[in-house]
């Protein structure tokens, strides 16, 4: 039997339906692979027994003809989604040992459709980061290696680094991610997989530990566009428990994938051709443009004039919301509590939060508190919100000329662990192509499009109109076919060798 972990979700569903293998076998193959890939540290919590139990039930459902659209597929869940009865940490010490009594709407939707949960994947603490090096539970390692620096461990990107690493290393068939400023797309690019951040409001935020509520959005990470479309169909939908969840019907995303893209207008924003952009990234972008042109799409030059203000605006709005969202971690009701004899309430707060939060989280809480303070609110927060509206308007204007926007996903390939750490601003630059899309609430996806000189994956980003995930998935599949990205990460090629 071929290695089941190399199958796509769609292939695996066919195999299950044809009785080529059972969900228990498929799940066991992944549990074995997880054991071999422990050093990647992709999971905070592994739940093999639970997974096998779910797989058994899935096999039973399938034999009774009651299988759901993802029945029996082993997936990883980012440890930002609360999972009933399974520890949920947000990769923070302050939530260590916290076991929710409730299931997030998105992970619940996947379970409803028959998915098997392998475990909870690591992330940057509270999803704040682009390298997955801020997790309290240790760095996550990218399964890919720089062929010119084979000894260096690379970051998987972040914040959904554990999910990206797991999907790339074939220790999950797909995973949930969340994306606040690029947290699905940038790690997808770094790990050579596909990830989509849907339109804000497409997936419920209920039960997802909040980072920046007006930007956070859950989405799927998998190895093909079709797998992402399948997962998104399951994850999405209106949830009355989230007031920002949109009461909109969810289209059948996989059904639209066969259409051609002739005549579709692809916008190329000139402001994304930034100073100091690497030649490699530029070349990849040109290649992407050429593929779509060949498929009959029309290439249109567009302008998104407020792009350069996106990153500063994002790093005001996101920390502002975070500083308030993280106030609930106070040592009173759940999670870490540090309190010595004779301490009063304030002492307990200070000790708990000092010990419970890592440096990056503290930095953002302080930035956020500062920009909301009396006397600074107008100069920072209010101004950033104005910029946010201008950026959204840029996209509205651009979409009068085009249907989809094509850009690179990230300004670089995966870098080594420890790099970009000396100055937080360098790290923040990782999000330069992705944050505008969150500020505007638009859908965006990253698709692996080629390898760098160092043999590392590079992704292209497609940005759609609000609620038009279908079109970017369709265009993404054209790039997927043209790029024919079949390279495997080191961990798998070494094993094969």
């Amino acid at each position: 039997m071929t290695d089941l972990t190399h199958l796509t979700i769609t292939e695996a569903l066919n195999g299950l339906e044809n009785k080529d293998f059972t969900s228990v076998e498929l799940t066991q193959a992944h549990i074995d692979a997880m054991a071999d890939a422990k050093h990647l540290n992709a999971y905070v919590t592994e739940t093999p027994e639970r997974a096998l139990e779910q797989a058994q039930q899935s096999d039973k459902r399938r034999s009774e003809g009651k299988a759901g659209i993802l029945d029996g597929i082993p997936l990883a869940i980012k440890d930002l989604f609360c999972t009933d009865g399974v520890q949920t940490t947000a990769s923070s010490h302050i939530l260590e040992g916290f076991v929710p009594t409730y299931e997030s709407t998105v992970s619940g939707n996947l379970l409803r459709d028959g998915a098997v949960m392998l475990g909870k994947t690591s992330l940057d603490e509270f999803a704040m980061g682009s390298s997955n090096t801020t997790s309290y539970f240790g760095d996550v390692i990218n399964p890919w290696k720089n062929k010119n620096r084979p000894d260096a461990n690379l970051v998987p990107g972040g914040s959904s680094g554990g999910s990206a690493s797991a999907v790339a290393a074939r220790i999950a068939m797909g995973a949930t991610g969340t994306d606040t400023g690029g947290s699905i797309r940038q790690p997808a690019s770094f790990c050579g997989i596909t990830g989509i951040k849907p339109t804000y409001g497409r997936c419920s935020r209920w039960g997802v530990v909040a980072f920046a509520s007006s930007l956070d959005q859950a989405g799927p990470m998998a190895r093909t566009i079709e797998d992402c479309a399948l997962m998104l169909k399951s994850m999405a939908g209106h949830d009355p428990k989230d007031s920002t969840s949109a009461p909109k019907d969810v289209p059948d995303f996989t059904a639209g994938l066969t259409d051609d893209i002739k005549g579709l207008r692809i916008g190329i924003p000139k402001e994304y051709r930034m100073e100091g952009m690497s030649e490699e990234i530029d070349k990849l972008w040109e290649q992407g443009i050429a593929w779509l042109k060949d498929a009959g799409a029309e290439i249109v030059d567009i302008s998104l004039p407020h792009t350069k203000y996106a990153l500063p605006a994002y790093y005001i709005i996101a920390p502002a919301e975070a500083s308030s969202n993280l106030a609930r971690y106070d040592g009173v009701r759940y999670g870490l509590r540090v309190c010595d004899d004779g301490d009063n309430l304030i002492d307990m707060y200070e000790k708990t939060r000092a010990e419970g939060f890592g440096d990056e989280v503290k930095r953002r809480i302080m930035i956020g508190t500062y920009v909301l303070s009396a006397g600074y609110y107008d100069a920072y927060y209010v101004k950033a919100q104005k910029i946010r509206r201008l950026i959204a308007q840029d996209f509205t204007n651009a979409y009068e000329q085009c249907d989809v926007i094509l850009t690179p996903t990230a300004p670089s390939e995966a870098f080594a662990i420890g790099e970009n750490e000396e100055d937080p601003l360098t790290m923040y630059l990782n999000d330069v192509y992705t944050v505008s899309i969150n500020l505007a609430g638009l859908p965006g996806l990253s698709i692996p499009a080629g390898l760098s000189k160092n043999g590392l994956p590079l992704g292209l980003q497609l940005v759609g109109k609000s609620w038009d995930e279908a079109t970017i998935l369709k265009v993404g599949q054209h790039i997927e076919k043209a790029a024919n990205f079949t390279a495997l990460p080191a961990i798998r090629t070494q094993k094969a060798a």
Binding site: E321, S324, D330, S373
Partner: protein, 484 residues
């Protein structure tokens, strides 16, 4: 006469504004489905949202919005079609989220106005600045354990309305009248039970003092003022404190102070270093609240007649005094009782009987109006018996006492006890003749100039009639006979 406090340097005027927190009557909380009922066992009315578990989100309770709009309409206020929930950020053990969801820059209700009735019959208008919705906090108890604090989250997340007045109030009396009227209005509307003992209505009082005609002074906000008495007392105390401070050469610091009802004093709630910066910003978990004019008009159609409207109607239609009308509207039950009793009868006479006789008797018996043994219809019948001269006012009091005791209809009591007034002049004449015949000496004395003896004859006639003779008729006939 304007209220002033006499200091060493002359008279001082008070400037007072009030912020009243009123718990909205609703089955569930402002942003969660858990029960908002008072009196449950500790931490029983707490949902995952109320406890601020990770990933939990608020969902606005539409009924609470309706109640806030209804209250706004009752305060003759502008309803804002667009309002925004914001987060007010601060740490406290009974504030699980670390922030309170409130409305700040864009409240649901804007400016309005209410009338207050003062003891001297004066009516004064007090401006309402705004009304906004917000979450209540939980309760911390620090006296249950030597080192631990106990927290009860039953109240956490319950819907409150904060109603802010203009600084139009000038005396402790006006302040209590304002609070009473506000309570009356929300009770009429059914939007808050106004129960201050249970904390469903609480007041913060902003006070400053100034020499009449001067600019506003620096104000202090007094918290924890939880009864009408406390409002009165804390204003008197705080105004004197500020006056003494200024007259001693000091200045008033703008600060938040706490009313201590045991020590009868106010004291600073927190030091300046602890002053809060609440860092308000729009709550990204909630969309801006938009209410359509049609919906507002639908709510307006369901409003009951409000106390001030009723008061004006009672004065205009029934000719009641302002004072009587304002006492009648104090409780909705009184209004209903009065209107039933006064239907097609002498309204002023009915109001007198209700306010002077019935309420006094009920008070003595420790009963409420709804528990009254004398029902509204029965009191009305009693008034009718007086009106059509079946009984005199004096006999009516005896009948009323009987009604209070037995709950019987007045007509039955009059019938049983034979208390019907005698208005038949022939019968009265016969009685008078008897009395004159029996008292020849007194008749002679009266005729000799002892006018005062007239009362004696009246008394004798009434006695013979067992109190039933119509006094006016007795007077008239007696005068004729004696003087004739």
């Amino acid at each position: 006469m304007a209220y002033t406090i006499q200091g060493e340097t002359g008279a001082w005027e008070l400037v007072i504004g009030m912020e009243v927190h009123a718990q909205i009557i609703a089955n569930s909380k402002l942003f969660s489905g858990s029960s908002a009922k008072f009196g449950a066992e500790q931490n029983h009315n707490v949902s995952l949202v109320d406890a601020a578990m990770p990933g939990m989100l608020p969902v606005l309770n539409e009924h609470c919005v309706e109640q806030a709009v209804r209250t706004g309409l009752g305060l003759n206020a502008k309803i804002n079609n667009y309002s925004v929930f914001e987060r007010k950020n601060y740490f406290y053990a009974d504030l699980p989220q670390g922030y309170q969801i409130s409305q700040f820059a864009h409240p649901i209700v804007g400016e309005g106005i209410i009338e207050i009735d003062l003891d001297d019959g004066e009516v004064k208008k007090i401006g309402i600045t705004r009304l906004h919705m917000e979450q209540d906090a939980g309760k911390s108890m620090h006296d249950q354990h030597p080192t631990k604090s106990f927290v009860d989250l039953n109240r956490s997340g319950c819907a409150l309305m904060e109603i802010v007045s203009e600084p139009d109030i000038r005396s402790p009396e006006e302040a209590t009248a304002y609070l009473s009227k506000l309570r009356m209005i929300v009770r009429y509307l059914g939007t808050c039970d106004g129960n201050m003992e249970e904390g469903s209505m609480r007041a913060d009082v902003n006070i400053s003092v100034r020499k009449p005609g001067d600019e506003y002074g620096t104000r202090c906000e007094i918290k924890n003022v939880n009864s009408l008495r406390a409002v009165h007392q804390c204003i008197e105390y705080e105004a004197r404190r500020q006056i003494e401070l200024i007259e001693d050469g000091g200045t008033v610091d703008q600060e938040t102070r706490l009313w201590d009802p045991n020590k009868m004093e106010t004291r600073p709630l927190r030091s300046k270093e602890e002053a809060h910066d609440y860092r308000y910003f729009p709550d990204p978990d909630l969309l801006p609240l938009e209410v359509a004019n049609d919906w507002i008009e639908d709510i307006r159609k369901t409003l009951p007649e409000l106390p001030d409207d009723i008061k004006h109607r009672f004065v205009d239609e029934y000719g009641l005094s302002h004072y009587d009308a304002s006492v009648l509207i104090a409780e909705k039950d009184r209004v209903e009782y009065f209107e039933t009793a006064a239907k097609d009868r002498d309204a002023k006479l009915t109001a007198n009987w209700l306010l002077n006789e019935l309420l006094g008797a009920l008070n003595k018996a420790g009963l409420t109006l709804t528990e009254s043994p004398v029902k509204a219809q029965q009191l009305g019948e009693l008034v009718s018996l007086i009106e059509d001269k079946t009984i005199s006012g004096k006999i009516a009091k005896d009948v009323f006492a009987d009604m209070m005791e037995t709950g019987k209809n007045p007509a039955d009591i009059v019938e049983e006890k034979g208390l019907k007034q005698v208005t038949d002049t022939g019968a009265i004449e016969a009685l008078i003749d008897e009395v004159i015949a029996e008292n020849p000496d007194n008749v002679a004395a009266y005729k000799g100039g002892k006018d005062k003896l007239f009362g004696f004859f009246v008394g004798q006639v009434m006695k013979k009639s067992q109190g039933k003779a119509n006094p006016a008729a007795v007077n008239e006939i007696l005068k004729e006979k004696l003087n004739g």
